[in-house]
Subunit: 490 residues, 2 copies
């Protein structure tokens, strides 16, 4: 944990060629917030903690990353059985794997060139998997047909799209409207690709609601400073955990239609909606139901991933996007090198196939699969409830109950003395809080300042998809720390 | 084969946002030459062939891609056993996997966060694997120590480096010297990243030798049109199959030192040297032996991959680079988002570990592993000999015998009438040849025009790492086609 690898710069001798290299992105900003990297500032503290013999009882609990497997959540066994047999086809005869896992592996191998997961695939992904994804979407949306040719399998569809959106200089530079707060990785991707981020605030008081009028104002104001082309939405939201209603989605689609904005919709947490009476509705379904004038014009990319939800297979690097109403010229714009550079490994593509086509009732693996999913859902819902309960009882903390996703994003109402100490140290007060929490109690959470929260507010983000006993220990430490912190600065 | 996926542009409805998108790279050029994609022009022909009921006996033989598994070469079983157990740890108790494969899997899982290949890793790769790679390099080079912190695990280290080299506009635009001919994917990567390619000719008459004086001339001439910063070398060469001698390597290093060029050395085919009396010597070893003035100043990146050699695991997307003498500031320049975007999936990283640390004599799996490698080496050497034999007997063909790698790159001396027909059709004569070969005989090879061959020369590249019986059938068809082609145009 907190391991940054050993590629430390200091050990290399001097040279010349790169000295005036032209990387224009904000390296520091990225270094702090990349999803697949360990976070460096907190990472160093973590490392220090582990080295510190004064604190032998403090095994660090990492609630910073959305990385359920590293926290101890087990992978879904059917997924792993299928992939193991694909890797080593001799296992197609092993009793240790269920019959349907072996049958599925056999079919998937038939879709790979040369029957091997070591061979290459088309740049859009394996056609077999494109078809499985299209069937899944059609089924999920009650029959609103999805065409396989609209599916692009990708390890990072957002970055792929941003590369294509990026264009222009100065006032004509492409802009993307992004919620505030937004997942830090979105901001990083925008910065790297050179697209202007135009934040529109979500309303915390109204459950992190997206407010179309507010958004419209931000959009108008951004013209002149960039060329706003797309609107990014995460539903369920990250880090906010809000889930959009059908009405809210319709409102966003109308706005996109009027303003000719491309809709970039991240729906990666669609299977993790847990709010009572709350359900996931896809943008594409609402779009389709709005009929001509919308359903045939609004450009939409819907993103999904195997890293999230109950799969949690971030290490397999796979996902997809569905494109709707996108100009035919765009497909020609996708450079195949760019596609290839974002193409998941074959095993990741096959894992995606299993995610969208899990065992069905009657299949030998279905009881186990259903039980595993049920138990993970129970863990998630129990954890969300438990975190809320503990946070609600803490002084100086308020928390909008999350409705979906794997994060909780409570607001900290910190004492003036804490704000002053942070200011004199030149850091945001919630970063100060997170550092002290990590140093003193070995609990690693992420400060709200990394997500673009409203000026003057402070938050922390906790990843709650961890085993319940880990959560309990983390909450004990968090509570102890928080009460001490508030006392110290009162 | 020839399957482009179903992401066809024509099926999408119209839209607006991307219309004036700013992708500046040459889309057509890439579309034709991407390594992980199916080649579109030939792909369409292939597809047509498969549909064509007139030619039911023509199963297409693909010798176009360096994709041994798709051609029917089997993966190394130890690699797959280890990875299968890592994926599905219940197999750690399965008798179907060898004891040492299970032990290795256990150790590798210990190096993954949460003991799962589904969790994230540091952006430089798993420290455990960095260390294994460093040990491998040190051992290979007779003790010239490699430090783990100089290893960056990456799915595409070349592109990563090019991103950092890319800078400037007009005459100050970064340039990279590249051999001609060069693997088409290198040209694509340069174009995409916006780096100027400065081709230096290899001498076919001297076995595709790199000629330092020639190179120096090209370098001088390039100044003014770009800022040449790096020299790309592939050893063994692709598509040429030449292997550099120690003297030749030393000459290149001297030149790099004098001209302050960064050395980008692709050594991915290092385990596939097959020329009699020929051996692979690494650039880093020669550099180290040249002593101070060189060993402590010349900037070098050495690239390796699990896609090549006897692994052939292209679908697992993994490789590494070792950086030597690179300015400490460079590591800071590596944006972690960029690193993360090029980070192999965890299973690919573990496959790399197995590649660099295979079973040793005495290990239970060693006999099988050694036999599998021996048999693949025999296949490669037998195929290389056999192709040479057939080509040497064909009129209008000359072929420099390859010494390493998995390709043969014969020259075609085509009749004037063929050149004229190609010219009037507006295509290169070797592309015309390849198309007809595919249409008439269902053999897919790659035309030399994609590799930057010398003006007025024509070649084809054949991937020869295919099962011997497949090769035989391909050679029968190639011979029949070639004789007919030469007759037709004489």
């Amino acid at each position: 944990m907190g391991d940054e690898g050993c590629g430390s710069p200091g050990k290399r001798a001097t040279g010349a060629v790169f000295r005036d290299g032209g990387v224009t992105v904000d390296v520091c900003a990225q270094r702090a917030v990349n999803p697949r990297a360990r976070e460096s500032q907190l990472g160093q503290v973590t490392h220090g903690l582990k080295q510190d013999s004064q604190k032998p009882d403090k095994e660090v609990i990492d609630m910073c990353w959305g990385d359920p497997h590293s926290a101890g959540i087990k992978p879904l066994s059917f997924v792993r059985q299928v992939l193991a047999a694909c890797l080593h086809p001799e296992l197609l005869h092993s009793d240790r794997l269920s019959v349907d896992a072996r049958q599925r592996a056999q079919r998937l191998l038939g879709a790979c060139r040369g029957g091997s997961v070591g061979s290459y695939t088309p740049v859009y992904g394996l056609p077999h998997v494109q078809c499985s994804v299209a069937e899944f979407i059609t089924r999920r949306d009650g029959g609103v047909a999805c065409l396989p040719e609209n599916i692009i399998i990708s390890s990072d569809p957002l970055r792929l799209l941003l590369f294509l959106l990026a264009a222009g200089e100065g006032a004509s530079r492409a802009g993307v409207l992004t919620p505030a707060p937004v997942c830090h990785t979105v901001a990083v991707a925008l910065a790297e690709v050179g697209v202007v981020s135009v934040p529109y605030p979500l309303c915390e008081e109204r459950g992190w609601a997206l407010q179309a009028n507010e958004l419209r104002g931000v959009l108008q104001a951004s013209r002149g400073r960039c060329d706003p082309r797309a609107l990014y939405v995460a539903n369920p939201g990250d880090p906010t955990g809000h889930v959009q209603s059908r009405d809210s989605i319709e409102e966003v689609i109308r706005l996109a239609a009027e303003e000719r904005l491309f809709l970039l919709v991240n729906e990666a947490d669609q299977d993790s909606v847990h709010g009572e009476g709350c359900e996931f509705v896809s943008y594409r379904k609402v779009l389709s139901e709005m009929g001509p004038g919308f359903s045939d014009t609004v450009e939409l990319a819907s993103l999904h991933s195997i890293s999230r939800g109950f799969m949690g297979e971030g290490g397999l690097c796979s996902g997809y996007m569905e494109l709707l109403n996108v100009d035919p010229a765009v497909a020609a714009l996708f450079p195949s090198g760019l596609l290839a550079g974002h193409l998941p490994p074959v095993l990741g593509q096959l894992a995606l196939d299993v995610m969208v086509k899990p065992p069905r009732p009657g299949d030998p693996s279905h009881p186990t699969y259903a039980e595993e999913v049920r138990s993970r859902r129970e863990t998630l819902m129990g954890n969300v409830r438990r975190v809320q309960e503990v946070l609600d009882a803490l002084p100086g903390v308020s928390c909008v109950p999350g409705l979906g996703g794997h994060y909780t994003f409570p607001r900290l109402h910190l004492p003036r003395a804490a704000l002053e100490q942070a200011e004199s140290a030149g850091v945001e007060a919630d970063l100060l809080y997170c550092r002290k929490l990590l140093e003193q109690e070995g609990v690693c959470v992420r400060p709200g300042c990394e997500f673009g929260q409203s000026e003057g507010t402070h938050h922390i983000r906790l990843h709650v998809m961890v085993p319940p006993e880990v959560l309990e220990e983390a909450l004990v430490r968090l509570k102890r720390f928080h009460l001490r912190f508030m006392r110290e600065f009162s």
